[in-house]
Amino acid sequence: MTILAQAVQQIDVPQIAWGAISPELVLFGFGIVVLLLETAGRSRVGVSAFLTVVVLAAAALLGWRTGETLTALMVALAALATMALTLIWRDRPRMLSAILTALGFVGALAATGWQWAEYAGAATATVGSESFPIVGTATAIGDMVAVDGVALFTRFTVCIAGLLTIPLGYAYAESRRIHRGEYYPLLLFSATGMTLLASSADLIMVFISIEILSLSLYILTAFARRDLNSQEAAFKYFLLGAFSSALLLYGIAVTYGIAGTTNIAAAGAAFATLDAPQAMTLTAMGLLVVGFGFKTAIVPFHMWTPDVYQGAPTPVTGFMAAATKAAAFAAFARLFVGSFANLQWTWVPAIWVLAVATMLLGAILAVVQQDVKRMLGYSAVAHAGYVLLGLTAVTRDGVSSLLLYLLIYAVTSLGAFGVLSLLERRTRKAMALDDLRGVGRRYPVPAGMFALFLLSLAGIPGTAGFIAKFAVFRSAVEAGQILLVAAAVLSSLIAFFFYIRVIVVMFMDEEPAEAEFAAPLISTTGMSAGLAVAAAVVVVVGLVPGLLLDLARQAASFAG
């Protein structure tokens, strides 16, 4: 015992700032609980009771040893709530999991809100002659995790996307008979990876969180086990995902070789000051761009996107489009705008070319698609191009417009995929453009919502999409990227065509004769509620964007 005590004294026990990763801890904890309750089967009440006792004891210990009574109280409350919910829904395991998962996302949102309140206004930024408060920054856990505006805002985006996915996916998974227990824990684990990715301050953290989110998403993509399309999509996603991870990792290794560290801020400083062999620096940055390019679906690394978007179960596609993009772009921005800002001359021209290619090719290829999900996949590629505008600006405004774009895009695209999963319940097959003929006349409300989401994706004034697009375009103009904005406007015009075409087909065309015999469209309460919330957000943000613009402006801060 004395030897042990001596050893403990000699080792410098690090202080771990658990608060910095509290949203991740909440998400991960709920993931584990949901997984346990799903595997428990009939004995879920007993397992839940046991869990509650253990967690209550742990909370009591925590409160007693550290004096963190508030945290301990929250943990105890969560345990009791889980127990109560298990008792109420003991005969409907999927409903129980869905509710617990929603609770997990709400908890993570609350934790992020608490962090935001803690750090908001802790620093000021000056743009031109005007100065305004921004979210303060800190790094924690051995400089591995950053707590800053970008991380917090992206956590909001990811949690909101997850929260919307649950009601939109529930009925779809039921009707497709793919509603298995692993769905919800995987959703939570991938969200954990995404929030971690958004807050990684170290390249190895970037790699690990990308893998956490990807591995969960591979399985979610393959969730329709008997559906060949889903399997094929998952296989392609997996192979290209692993391939791009390897490229990214090689970039990380070369960075480590140059800088002697994998810390993002330190690596940026080393790149800028050290007269390292320039070829090696460029190799490292090139590999990192390629790696992130795959994850964010930038041309020419977008090949997997349409296939995966088409093949994956529709709610999973929505979640993937919304949340993965937000997290990957946050890390992309932290690395390049936050850390490599002094090396602009190397990477901005490269990203410039990629952005033009992405915007134009994504829009042009979307025009010729017949499958609606595939079309939205190509449109997601084009949208990645617009987000790159905010990146190439390399300014605070650019970053805040990028964050705003990702949040608005997340809600809008989730809404669009939500309507699609509602419509697919009727036909029980993938939606081609022809299947949408006359849908607007028979079911005006869902079709109207779909039209609203498409108009927002197109960036029509009055919708949230316009605000987002306007913000990125303005930041790029202010940074002097006029040509790039011209390309973006051209791409938007092309994109406008295929969004409008869907609306025209829905409302103007005659219904095909065989549609008379199709099953009726039945919405569920959850689905209606989810879609209504998404539509409301799109309209409200489109009309009164002030609050969100202000939040995004405050969020443009990098740690380190």
Binding site: I204, F207, I208, E211, L215, Y218, I219, A222, R225, R226, L228, N229, Q231, E232, A233, A234, F235, K236, F238, L239, A242, F243, S245, A246, L247, L249, Y250, I252, A253, V254, Y256, G257, G260, T261, T262, P306, D307, Q310, G311, V368, Q369, Q370, D371, R374
Partner: protein, 101 residues
């Protein structure tokens, strides 16, 4: 005998290239998958070499992380491939082309 660090780096780069080219040109799903693993392991070699060059342990620690992640990736990847094989009875990547515009 002293082997310069550059030799290790060149070996790692060569292995990485073999893996990269393999993924791009081979058509057997299993071989493509093996090539991805080869890429990851060549990165490990790079990490360890740079760790030695810098005289810190970071590189070696990082390679352990990569190994753990690679192991997790193998489990998921093989499960996907097995399930695909059940439906398709083929391990040729060219047969997996149902998703087209």
């Amino acid at each position: 005998m002293d082997v310069p660090a550059g030799y290790y780096l060149i070996l790692a780069a060569a292995l990485f290239t073999v893996g990269l080219v393999g993924v791009l040109i081979r058509r057997s799903i299993i071989v493509m998958f093996m090539c991805v693993e080869l890429m990851l392991n060549s990165v490990n070699l790079t990490f360890v070499t740079f760790g030695r060059v810098h005289g810190n342990l970071d590189g070696q620690v990082l390679s352990f992380f990569v190994m753990a992640v690679a192991a997790a990736e193998v489990t998921v990847g093989l499960a996907l491939i097995v399930n695909l094989f059940r439906l398709k009875a083929s391990t040729d990547a060219d047969d997996v082309d149902g998703l087209r515009s």
